[in-house]
Amino acid sequence: MPTIQNIVLVHGGFVDGSGWQGVHDDLARDGFRIRIVQNPTLSLDGDVAATRRVLDSLDGPAVLVGHSYGGVVISEAGTHPNVAALAYIAAFAPDKGESVSTLIADPPPGAPVPPILPPVNGFLQLDPDKFHGAFAADLPAQQAAFMADSQVPWGVDALGGAVTEPAWRHKPSWYLVATEDRMIPPPAQRAMAERAGSFVVEAIGSHAVYVSQPAAVADLIRQAAA
């Protein structure tokens, strides 16, 4: 058995933790104890606090996993003593002082622009008509439609939350690059992974790679726990 038995999964913006089910089931078969943080995505502080509460409750070391904006959360919360390793799944891995807002401020020319609608009362949503293509092109249309309709509004404060002390500077990290991602450009993912010194695996998948390819995600996490 690997030394690390706990896995903590942190979802990103526009979604909730239920998308982790495939990864959860895959890892559960190997006897891992898995906790899924239901972070409200209203502010970075709130999400970090929610994550730390889960980490506090653990009896041993954990791999802390973040998807998308969840990467910001784990970079900040990952300094917690129970975190032994970090795993980024098509995620932001900000450096000190960076936030989602700063990281997406200057998209490279030609990069696809995520179809984010203008904020309403401080909340963001993805254009439901473009959700399938932009977020989850490798999922069946029906499933993508459900995800579009059940979107969790994403607080603009969460996007603005800057990391104070990135955990990847202190702990080993792993990164799954989704090569067909139209939310976070794959070259940006590779660059962040390289900066963090992560062990990198790539998968042919959309931004929703954690839903469409749970086996690849679980493999990476198992490796991080080994």
């Binding site: 790539e202 086996a215 490796q223």
Partner: protein, 714 residues
């Protein structure tokens, strides 16, 4: 895996033809044998392209983004530290190998110096050893056997130097570990590599990793439609899409299900889909991927005849990586004809793969499934009986084959009627080589069950054959098991014999003379306790050989002389002759050419035509060797005219016996002596001949050297 289809005429086709022609029993048997030989001959005589890239499947579907990924990887700028190595990873059944083969075919134009493919057997209990893998790759790159260093690090450095100036793509399929793969990667230079592995091989640096996913539904349906061909229209798109979904986008499951439909037209896709989804509900505790695959296998397994089912699940106990029909018949407890039928059917359904060598193997997952069925359907007593039967058969085959090379046995008289026919030394040789992991597995099993006599018989039977295949990696284990069995039986003489074989193992490349000496000391001890004079003498001889390798020449001379005296006393002239050769080598190394020459002359006399004491077949092989060594010594003593006579005679005999490696070597010696004698024209002709013979044995370096000397001005 390819859509299953037997590569030769199917047994049942031939049997039907025999029926139609109303042949009598003898004519029928001949026809069937002919057909069987025909398809085997086709495989055996085909030039076995070393590390040749397998053909890509005709109906390869999808994976466009993945192919673009490998294309990028291969064409990425080669900045320092980027090794141009890609790892394709993911669980079994996703088509990693099929994909890597397709990608390699696509990339072939970029690699003018070739594409190499090597199966590393990462998931088998005995993955390919690094040294063995390097030897295969080196041969594929054009290295001759004698150029290949005996140790792994030597092979690795030759491999790197051969790759340095070549643009070669190396596909390393089914890798087990970082340690296995690392020495096989091209270093700098223009070489690239694609690895497939179920593991991420996190310890490998400078590698880009792609986690292969299941086929998306659309592509999965497309693949299924392609496999079904014309009948797909009648099944209808919705049923096929549902089937594709139930197969989880796993190409292996899709192929098995597709083959199932094609080979049994009375079932339609909708019915099969309904049955599959029932199964899935019933077995939902299994992991998603494994479940889909097991269900797909189950659909095919269930509709086999009971006898074919039995053959299939019992083949899971075959110890090696692959097997032939004879072993399948033993495993299944059927006649060879029924085994052919079952194998044809299993290949058709995609449950087995038949290779170009007429042998069959499982996909790893199918083997697991078969083992599962065996566990479920056969009692433990039945399984034990099966293991016992298969072990007994394999060991009797191996022992019979091994004894072909023993002068005391030779051609076996086929006392066991259930054994496969080995009608020539070449067939025995081939059987032992291709079945090495099978009979070795049986040997281990028998040893673990305390079947000491059969273990000892088998180990003993390998004595002569081991010399013929001295580079095989497993002789240490074989003779260790033999020694342990002899010890357990309290047979001191045989125990000493096996210890002496172990000493021999360590005097051939890769040599380890210190270890050899430890074994000769043990052998001497055991042999002395039992008064086994012959084994005492052999221990002295092997000790002499080891001491010579260590440069302890005086001790080596003493030890070999003692062995020679003992064999002379017991009248074992064959062994005595070997001692003279060994002694001559020691004396020659010590610069005592006259005394060395004396030994070789005595050897020549004993191996001469009129000498009846020596076994004729051994004498025939000894004579050219003794003459050549004598000639070499004469040359060293400056007696060049005599040297030339001896060497010429030796080379003639070597040519007759087709000992080409030796012949080339002594042609070069002869040419040197002719040149020293001032017979320049003759010398050049002999150098030219040496170059030719070196060429035929594949030693291009020596060939080039001799060609240069043949044309050089003197």
């Amino acid at each position: 895996m390819e859509r299953g289809r037997s590569r030769g005429p199917q047994h049942r086709t031939v049997a039907a033809l025999a029926d139609a022609l109303a042949l009598d029993e003898i004519a029928r048997k001949q026809l069937i044998e002919l057909a069987r030989d025909g398809r085997l001959r086709d495989h055996w005589t085909r030039p076995t392209g070393l590390c040749e890239l397998p053909r890509s499947v005709d109906d390869f579907t999808g994976r466009a983004a993945e192919l673009a990924w490998t294309n990028d990887l291969i064409h990425a700028d080669k900045s320092p530290g980027v090794a141009g190595v890609g790892l394709i990873t993911g669980p079994a059944g996703l088509g990693k190998t099929t994909f890597a083969v397709r990608a390699a075919h696509t990339l072939r134009p970029d690699f003018p110096d070739g594409v190499l493919f090597l199966d590393l057997f990462g998931m088998s209990p005995q993955p390919l050893a690094v040294g063995e893998a390097l030897a295969l790759l080196l041969r594929a790159l054009g290295a001759a056997d004698q150029q290949i260093p005996s140790d792994t690090s030597g092979r690795a450095s030759l491999y790197r130097s051969m790759l340095r100036d070549r643009r070669v793509l190396v596909v390393l399929d089914n890798a087990a570990s970082e340690e296995q793969v690392r020495p096989l990667l091209p270093g700098g230079g223009g070489g690239r590599a694609l690895i497939t592995s179920r593991r991420l091989l996190a310890g490998l640096e400078g590698v880009r990793r792609l986690s292969l996913g299941p086929l998306p539904l659309l592509e999965a349906t497309e693949l299924l439609t392609g496999i079904l061909g014309e009948r797909s229209a009648s099944d209808g798109e919705p049923a096929l899409a549902q089937l594709a979904q139930l197969c989880g986008g796993l190409p292996l499951a899709l192929r098995i299900i597709g083959n199932r439909l094609v080979s049994r037209p009375d079932w339609n896709a909708a019915e099969l889909a309904a049955r599959l989804s029932n199964e899935e509900r019933r077995l939902d505790q299994l992991s998603a991927g494994d479940l889909k695959i097991a269900n797909a296998f189950g659909m095919s397994y269930e509709q086999l005849a009971a006898s074919a089912r039995q053959v299939f699940r019992r083949l899971a106990l075959v110890p090696g990586r692959d097997f032939d029909a004879a072993l399948a018949a033993v495993a299944g407890g059927t006649s060879i004809e029924d085994a052919w039928d079952a194998l044809d059917e299993l290949v058709d359904l995609g449950l087995l793969q038949d290779s170009t060598s007429g042998r069959y193997r499982f996909h790893d997952l199918v083997r697991l499934f078969a083992r599962d069925r065996l566990q479920e359907e056969d009692t433990s007593a039945e399984r034990d009986a099966l293991s016992g039967r298969m072990t007994s058969w394999l060991l009797r085959m191996a022992t019979t084959a091994g004894r072909w090379f023993e002068p005391a046995y030779g051609r076996p008289d086929r006392s066991d009627s259930d054994l496969a026919d080995l009608s020539s030394m070449d067939e025995a040789d081939r059987w032992l080589r291709v079945n090495a992991d099978n009979w070795l597995g049986a040997l281990r099993y028998a040893a673990s069950r305390g079947l000491h006599s059969v273990v000892l018989d088998c180990a003993e039977s390998m004595h002569w054959f081991s010399d013929r295949w001295m580079h095989a990696p497993h002789w240490h284990e074989v003779f260790t098991l033999g020694a342990e069995a002899a010890a357990a039986l309290g047979d001191l003489a045989q125990h000493a014999t096996q210890l002496n074989y172990l000493a021999w193992v360590h005097t051939v490349p890769p040599e380890d003379p210190e270890t050899a000496l430890r074994y000769t000391a043990d052998a001497l001890d055991v042999a002395t306790r039992s008064d086994a004079t012959a084994q005492i003498a052999w221990a002295h001889l092997y000790a002499g050989v080891a001491l010579r390798l260590l440069g302890r020449l005086d001790e080596a001379v003493a030890s070999t002389s003692r062995a020679a005296e003992m064999f002379k006393t017991t009248g074992d002239i064959d062994a005595y002759c070997q001692c003279l050769g060994a002694l001559g080598n020691c004396l020659r190394d010590s610069g005592r050419y006259t005394e060395a020459l004396e030994q070789f002359h005595r050897m020549c006399d004993l191996a001469g035509d009129e000498e009846p004491a020596m076994t004729p077949s051994i004498a025939a092989l000894t004579r050219p060797y003794a003459l050549a060594r004598a000639g070499e010594c004469l040359g060293l003593l400056g007696r060049r005219a005599e040297a030339i006579t001896k060497l010429t005679e030796a080379i003639g005999l070597m040519e007759q016996l087709q000992l080409s490696g030796l012949q080339a070597r002594y042609l070069e010696v002869l040419a040197t002596i002719l040149a020293d004698e001032g017979r320049t024209g003759e010398s050049r002709r002999v150098y030219a001949r040496a170059a030719e013979v070196f060429e035929t044995v594949g030693d291009t370096e020596a060939s080039g050297r001799c060609r240069g000397l043949a044309t050089a001005a003197h």
